[in-house]
Structure formats: C-alpha cells, structure tokens
C-alpha cells in the first residue's frame, strides 16, 4: 500500500453540493462524500487540476527506516509512484491507463492482475475524489463512531470489484480522518488502516499532510511536503519501465 493508494483512498468523495445535517436521522452516504469534496476545495478545484507531482517522505519507525517518495499523476487515469529507501532501494508502481504494474529492488518487476489490477486502476483515476459515484456504485452510511473524541460518520463504499472501503468522516468538519479496507496484494489480502491528519492546502485542495498506515504487520507514516500543481509531465514518465515492458512482451509471446 503506497502513498498514491492512500491519497486516492483518502480522497474518495464526490461532487459538491452544499449540505446541512440535522440532528437526526443520519445523513446519506452520498451527502457525506459530497461534503468531503466541498470542504477539501470543491469540484471546480479538483477539475482544474490536470496533473500533479507530490513530494514527501515515508517513515517506518519500528524498523528505523526512512525514505523519500514522489507521486506523478495525470488525468484521467495515469500515475507513477516511487519510493526510495537507501537500505532497500527503489520501489516503483504505476498505471498507464491499462497496465497496472510495480517494480521493486526486492521482488522485481511484475504486472498486476485480477482484483489487484482493478484496485490499482481505481487508484490511478486522478479525479477519483469527484468520481466516487463511478468508482463505488454502492455507498452506505453505517452510523456514527467516535474517533479521537470526535463523532464520525462511517461510510461503506463498495466497488464493482474488490473489497469495500470504509471511510470515517468527522461530523463537525466533514474531513476524512480514518479509512480501512482489505487490500488485495500479491502476498494476500491484507487489512489496511489509515489515519489521516494535519490537513493542509496544497494548491487549492486540502489534503492530509500526514497519513499513518498500518498494513498487516507493518506501520509507517507518509508525510506530504509539497505538491506541484499542473506541471508539465512528459508522457514517458508514465511509460512502462524496460523491465516491465519485457514482461509484457514475454507474456504476449507465449
């Protein structure tokens, strides 16, 4: 699970409609997700963003390992994400619209398939925040839970393919503060929990500058330092690396 995943999962929300909640009954899941778009910048702000490059750090405190991360994204469906940790090497992943892949110094290159590919393609949707209706056909408000002393709406978002994603949105602020799901990875289905905090304005959109993620036995924190808004990103940035291209060619030859 990487920064790109968390950002997109955290950014699962919808088009902006002004909402006012009454005390009772519970607001609809749709209205909660729409409110999230609104409080984080509004639909126009998201739609103005055609490309972005995010820079940050990753920190695995239990292991004592730190590294840098960079995430490139372009509308509608491309991303390239790289994490560089001196003791481990480079870990890359990406979606070029059709092929979802990853390449790491540890496990080598591979092409994602099945549910894992479907999840990666969803994550590659740069406007996932405002496209939630397309990505999650079924959404449901499952009630209120208290997180860190704040009442939060618990919204279950179910995609066509893959496990449901549960987002927790503060009743007061509308911001998403927690997200949990079971991620499909090649090593198996892994429970993932992300805690989002320290929302900051990055080029007109509020994003959590700090996300602490527990994925199976690992816990790490991703810190977003800066975001370049609408930079020129050469198309080659989203091209398949040679090692991945070689796997595609090998599969095609069989």
């Amino acid at each position: 699970m990487n920064r790109r995943v968390s950002i997109l999962l955290l950014a699962v929300a919808g088009t902006g409609v002004t909402l006012v909640y009454g005390a009772d009954p519970l607001p609809s899941a749709e209205s909660i997700l729409d409110r999230y778009v609104q409080v984080t910048g509004g639909k126009p702000a998201y739609e103005k963003r055609k490309t972005e490059i995010a820079h940050g750090t990753v920190d695995f405190p239990a292991l004592g390992i730190k590294g840098s991360m960079t995430r490139y994204a372009a509308q509608p469906d491309k991303y390239y994400y790289t994490v560089d940790i001196a003791a481990i090497g480079k870990m890359e992943s990406g979606v070029n619209g059709t092929v979802a892949w990853e390449n790491s110094a540890i496990l080598g290159p591979r092409i994602k398939s099945g549910v894992e590919r479907a999840e990666a393609i969803r994550e590659g949707n740069m406007n996932a925040t405002v496209n939630w209706r397309k990505l999650y056909p079924k959404v449901e408000n499952a009630g209120i839970e208290v997180i860190d002393g704040e009442e939060c709406y618990k919204v279950i978002m179910t995609p066509d393919e893959g496990q449901p994603v549960i987002g927790y949105y503060q009743k007061k602020s509308g911001l998403q503060v927690k997200l949990s799901t079971v991620a499909s990875t090649q090593m198996g289905d892994i429970p993932v929990e992300m805690i989002a905090s320290d929302y900051k304005n990055f080029g007109g959109i509020l994003e959590p500058a700090k996300v602490t993620q527990k994925a199976g036995p690992q816990e790490f924190t991703m810190t977003l330092d800066r975001v370049e808004v609408n930079p020129v990103i050469p198309p080659e940035r989203f091209a398949l690396p040679d090692e991945v291209r070689a796997l595609v060619d090998k599969a095609a030859a069989k």
């Binding site: 695995f60 239990a62 292991l63 004592g64 390992i65 003791a87 481990i88 090497g89 790491s104 110094a105 540890i106 496990l107 080598g108 290159p109 591979r110 090649q186 090593m187 198996g188 289905d189 892994i190 429970p191 199976g216 036995p217 090692e243 070689a246 796997l247 060619d249 090998k250």
Partner: protein, 362 residues
C-alpha cells in the same frame, strides 16, 4: 509457579508449560547456558577464520583470502583447541548438553571466542594436519565485506562472491554471500551472477553459515530462477494476516540446474529460500539439515537471568511442512569432515558439482 522454592523449580515449571505447546521456538534457556554462549571479550575484529563444530571439535572450515589467519598459514581442517586462553572443547560439550541450543548458537559461541576488538590479537592453539600443536598470535582486523545498516539493526559487514574458478569446475557459477542484507548491492550482484551464467551448466548457491536477513530477498532471488507464474516459496501466518511468499518470474530466467548448499548455520531467510526452491522442484539441496529457525521469534531475558524464547508467527514452506520444527532436510546429505577439509576438499561443493555434471545433456 508461585510454589516454586528455587530458580530450578521455576525453570522446570516453565519448561513443562511450554512443552505442552509442542512447538519449537518456545523455550527457557537456563542462565548457566547463557554463561557458556555469552562471551564478554567478543568483538567485531576477526582473524578471517570460519569454523564449525565437527565431531565435538571446533574445526576451521574456511579462511578468508588475505586475512591474518591465511597469512600465518592457518588452513581448513585445522582443529582449534584453545582461544584467548580458553579450552573450547569443554564449552562445546556443555552447550551441546542442552537440546535447546542448536548448531547455529553453538557455532556463534565458538566464533565469538575467536573474535575480539579490531586491532587486538587472538592467541590460539591449533592441531594441524599432522596432529602437531600450532600456537599462533593472530591479528584481529575489520571483517570482510561492506558495512551495511538496515534500520534499527546494528550495522553488519556483508560480502558477496561469485566465481567460476577456485573449488568449482569452470562449468558452474558459484555464488555465496553471508547475509540477506545490503539489499540493493546484493540483489544486483545476484542478478549479475545469474545473468552471467546463461550458458553455464549449473548454478551453485552456497548458503552455509548464512543466518538470513530480509525475508523478501528470498522471493526476489527466486524470481531469477523460477519461470512458472503464480508460484510461492511458502506462507507466513501472523496474528492478523497471512503473507504468501510469492515469486515474480523475471523476463530472463535461468533455467539450468540449481544446487543450494546448506548447513546447521543456514537459518531464517536461507531456509525460506532453500526450502521453497526445493519444494517447487527448482533446486536440489546439498549439505546438512538447516537451523530450523525460519520463524520470527524473540528472546526476553527473565528477571532470574534465564532467557524466554517465543515465536511471533508461523511459516509453512510450499511443500506443506513447517520449517520451524524441521528445518530444510537436504536432498543429498553431505557432511563436512576434518579429513576432507585437510585434503583440500569441500565435500558439499564436490557433491553439488557432481550432480550438475550428471544433469548435463549430451
């Protein structure tokens, strides 16, 4: 426990309780055994000697090229009688009397006795090939390899070697490394070695003495050797998740014979790698049974000085067997002997090479 009148009684109760689990990696290590295993004089300095306990004696199994030991004429097969003024045989006998002490710990205890501060010296007594006692003062220098740090772990020297000369017939590539660490360098070196082996008759991966390291490296290295998709080395079961140790076949996979060499000091990631490739039918394993410590386990020192070992996960190799109880049993059992070492032979390498030759198509 509350009724125990002595440490010994408390120890017996704890052992009995843990015994009911019928699992390895759950043990009480008596404080008296710690006094054998611990060595206050241990340090990073080395004379370049690697050793194993063979037939109850510490025996030199290899000498690093260019090391102080090599320069002073120490040879594989020499028996180490004394180090820093301490007789090794009583230490070995006492440690071997406790079934909780496996070969890996025993070997480490012996090697610790041969170490000391960098810049210091080791006064050691050996029995040479002719049975004569040889007393030597060996300088202790920086260990071989590159100092590599991984997070909170103490930095360790990591080395990697590959060759087609020396003890190996030129037809095979021989690869050896001491730890699954220094990931970027070791993975790149492994890739280079495998790729250079495209036309050779076989690949020998020597994991003897390799205590493991980063588990993921076993999966990554297997990707250079396994071409079939959707394969795995095994599965690790944790409290809240299950991790499949998958293999991602590379675009260019080595398809020739692969021999993996192991011994009782091959542990953890080495066992995952060797056991997985064996189970997949991709490698033939030579040597002696591995350390059977493939699980993540922790040691806590108890208030009375005893140690408490407990496992935090379970690992089942792809063949369905838990490595933690059984280790990896070689396909071909080959034990080192002092006589063969003195004659300049590594019987395990010889056996692997012989098998590789037998696989050669006419």
């Amino acid at each position: 426990m509350e009724k125990a009148a002595s440490h010994a009684e408390a120890q017996a109760v704890m052992q009995e309780m843990l015994g009911r689990l019928k699992q390895s990696h759950f043990a009480i290590i008596p404080a008296t055994v710690y006094s054998v295993l611990d060595n206050e004089g241990e340090g990073p300095g080395t004379s370049g000697i690697d050793a194993r306990v063979l037939d109850g004696h510490a025996v030199v199994t290899s000498v690093d090229p260019g090391s102080p030991a090599e320069k002073q004429g120490v040879r594989p097969g020499w028996q180490i009688e004394r180090a820093h003024g301490i007789d090794l045989e009583p230490l070995i006998t006492q440690a071997r009397s406790n079934p909780a002490i496996h070969e890996l710990q025993l070997t480490r205890a012996v090697l610790a006795r041969l170490s000391g501060p960098i810049g210091g010296t080791l006064d050691a007594a050996f029995l040479d090939a002719s049975g004569q006692t040889v007393n030597l003062r060996l300088n202790l220098t920086t260990p071989r390899g590159t100092l590599s740090a991984f997070g909170n772990l103490p930095a360790q020297h990591v080395w990697f070697e590959s060759q087609r000369t020396g003890p190996i017939d030129q037809a095979a590539e021989y690869v050896r490394f001491n730890l699954f660490l220094d990931l970027p360098r070791v993975m790149a070196s492994f890739q280079q070695a495998v790729e250079s082996c495209k036309a050779c008759d076989g690949l020998i991966i020597d994991l003897r003495g390799n205590p493991g390291g980063i588990g993921g490296m076993a999966m990554g290295m297997a990707g250079f050797l396994v071409d079939k998709p959707d394969q795995r080395l095994g599965t690790m079961y944790l409290r809240d998740s299950t991790l499949k140790f998958v293999v991602n076949p590379r675009a260019n996979v080595y398809s020739g014979p692969v021999a993996v060499l192991v011994d009782g000091c091959s542990a953890s990631t080495s066992e995952i790698f060797a056991g997985g490739l064996k189970d997949l039918g991709r490698a033939r394993v030579f040597g002696t049974r591995t350390a059977a410590v493939a699980l993540p386990s922790a040691f806590e020192r108890l208030p009375n000085g005893d140690g408490f070992q407990y496992a935090v996960a379970n690992y089942i190799s792809e063949g369905g067997q838990p490595l933690e109880r059984l280790g990896v049993a070689p396909d071909v059992v080959v034990e080192l002997t002092r006589a063969a070492l003195l004659a300049g032979h590594d019987a395990v390498v010889d056996a692997a090479m012989s098998w590789i030759r037998s696989q050669k198509k006419p």
